[in-house]
């Protein structure tokens, strides 16, 4: 955890004090390797909003955004970020640099496009939209991939102009190779939860472990972090577990500890979760590939979790329940997040006890601990 805190602190420090052009990216299905190879510093408004929620300052920013007219139903991350911008861009982690370009991929979340449009207006910076068709149930359609690849090629020349550095083939290949290595290691860590008892919690721990693959993918620090993390997890003696659960949805960040403890007191260990793969589709075998640089980035963008249909998402949950031998499914629905939550109630898996909970990922007002405790307790009382 200390190594992780240091990595995140370094990321923020480089953003506020470092040099070089800055690109804003979404988390889901981004093509971070390309701007990174062109010497850009990479910033993720979602990750920053998440950090604000975790540090319990998002509530203030959300109120600030609502003062500007944002509705209570708008995404908590967006409002946290808009409130931050209205407060001069200075948060608990220093001042966030203005973007030289915003690069929005449409596969992760449809709201992000409007969010990035608003940010582009505030910062008077260009917005590049990477339009990614839905892959629905199966593998990405070859025509759709060619369409994305052409846009990535166009993006390369745009980045070259702004960054004043040509993305050399070698540098990009090196970045992609590091992404691949980190992805292999990350999957190895997540797979360790197949052991009984599991030495690793694939949700309550993994949501922190996933930070480097999200913000530093393609860097040597990221590979190094996962190598050390894998060794640490390998060396663990697993604590006893009473329940093995699979979790769908992000956690309520402002109340993370209270939420985690609701499950901990029942001895529930999360063995697989969808949120930790929301950035990329690694568990279905995807890896960035230096020999197919643009193609693999396009594929990564297309295959992200929220770009899938509901039946495809249910199939993923069913597979994870079987693969990790889980005995219950927990769906945490996020009030202000449409791409993740719409239709989530239909993801109940037949013959698997399913608990459906609702709060928010950033807005602390949507979390009612008493109500939630009753649901969690009743759920495990039934299963006892």
């Amino acid at each position: 955890m200390t190594a992780l805190k240091r990595l995140m602190a370094d990321w923020y420090r480089d953003l506020s004090e470092g040099e070089g052009p800055v690109v804003y990216l979404p988390v889901g299905g981004n093509v971070a390797e390309l701007p990174r190879a062109c010497g850009f510093r990479v910033f993720f408004p979602e990750v920053n909003a998440l950090q604000c929620a975790l540090r319990k300052v998002a509530g203030e920013f959300i109120l600030r955004a609502e003062e500007q007219g944002y509705s209570p139903d708008v995404c908590g991350y967006v409002k946290s970020d808009m409130g931050l911008a209205a407060s001069g861009g200075s948060g608990p982690f220093g001042t966030i640099p203005k973007p030289d370009i915003l690069l929005c991929t449409t596969s992760g979340c449809s709201t992000t496009l409007k969010w990035f449009e608003a940010l582009a207006g505030i910062h008077e910076a260009p917005l590049f939209v990477l339009d990614v068709p839905s892959v629905r149930d199966g593998a990405a359609d070859p025509h759709a991939l060619r369409y994305v690849v052409r846009q990535v090629e166009e993006l390369a020349s745009v980045l070259e102009k702004i960054g004043r550095r040509k993305p050399s083939r070698d540098r990009l290949a090196e970045t992609l190779e590091r992404s691949r290595q980190a992805e292999d290691l990350w999957m190895e860590i997540l797979d360790s939860a197949r052991a009984k008892p599991s030495p690793f919690d694939a949700f309550f721990e993994a949501v922190f472990f996933m930070a480097p693959i999200t913000v530093l993918r393609g860097t040597p620090e990221c590979v190094e972090y996962y190598r050390a993390a894998r060794e640490e997890v390998r060396g663990r003696v697993a604590e006893p577990e009473r329940r093995r659960i699979v979790v769908d949805g992000p956690p309520p960040w402002p109340h993370f500890r209270a939420f985690r403890d609701l499950f901990k007191r029942w001895g529930a260990r999360c063995v697989a979760s969808t949120y930790v793969r929301v950035g990329g589709d690694w568990d279905e075998g995807f890896r960035h590939d230096p020999s197919r640089p643009f193609e693999s980035m396009a594929e990564f963008a297309a295959r992200c979790y929220t770009n899938r249909s509901l039946p495809a998402r249910r199939a993923i949950l069913e597979r994870e329940i079987r693969r990790f031998d889980a005995d219950a499914l927990v769906i945490h629905s996020v009030r202000s997040c449409r791409p993740y939550s719409v239709g989530q109630a239909c993801l109940r898996v037949r013959d698997v006890p399913t608990l459906f909970l609702e709060s928010d990922l950033a807005d602390p007002r949507h979390f009612n601990e008493g109500e939630m405790r009753t649901r969690v307790d009743a759920f495990f009382e039934v299963a006892r």
């Binding site: 609702e358 009612n368 008493g370 109500e371 009753t374 649901r375 307790d377 009743a378 009382e381 039934v382």
Partner: protein
Amino acid sequence: MFVLGIDLGSRACHAVLADGEGRIAERSFLPAAADLHATARRALESFGLRRDEIQYVAATGFGRGQVRFRDLAITEITCHARAARALLPDASCVLDIGARNARAIRTCADGRTLGFRVGDRCAAGGGRLLERAARALDLPLDEIGPVSLRAQDPVAVSSVCAVLAESEIVRHVTDGRAVEDILMGLHLSVASRAAALVRQLGADGDVALTGGVARNAGMVAALERKLGLPVRTSPDSEYAGAIGAALLALKRLRILDHDPRVRLS
């Protein structure tokens, strides 16, 4: 020997004392005060017994964690399921409408829970809305049900919020609508939210109505209309949480007698 089941809700505290056969010996009802533990204490004292004269205490309801003299805390979902099968054995689905919200539970014949759905956090789905309506219309709470049954043309109450629903009531009053039509409109509004929970569980037989709202004949009629299913109540429906807790306390006591190594949770 006696066991105590205590249901400490957000508006009221129900407690029952049961004997070793699970028969209800005494009931106690108190309005809940801000000091939940003190309310629970007063409920215990109302039976004229000391704590050490009761073999086992199970607490349920919103304030269950505040009953410091309990042996066991159980959620109201598990308790209502258990009690409903004892009170109304033919109903395989329980609808508990409390002050704050509603819960639908599917049960098996021995009272264990098969599945449940809980209404969202807003009081528009609970009895508290009816209390507010009674106050706004200047009627005793016990009369709003019977009055609503005289409705000829119920008004539409569209609001999803208990506070806004109250302002809707005021608007209907100023529009000159009959009190019984306003009240039935309100009952149907609460019933439609509760019915959605029952339908999510795929209930197709008798529905047992528990919780304080079960005393309200207008709500029973509104629910039957919204559900198209028979809705059954028992004179003990409002004590269901406490009865379920007492029955589960007895069950736990039997397990403990049989095997003293069983740990309390």
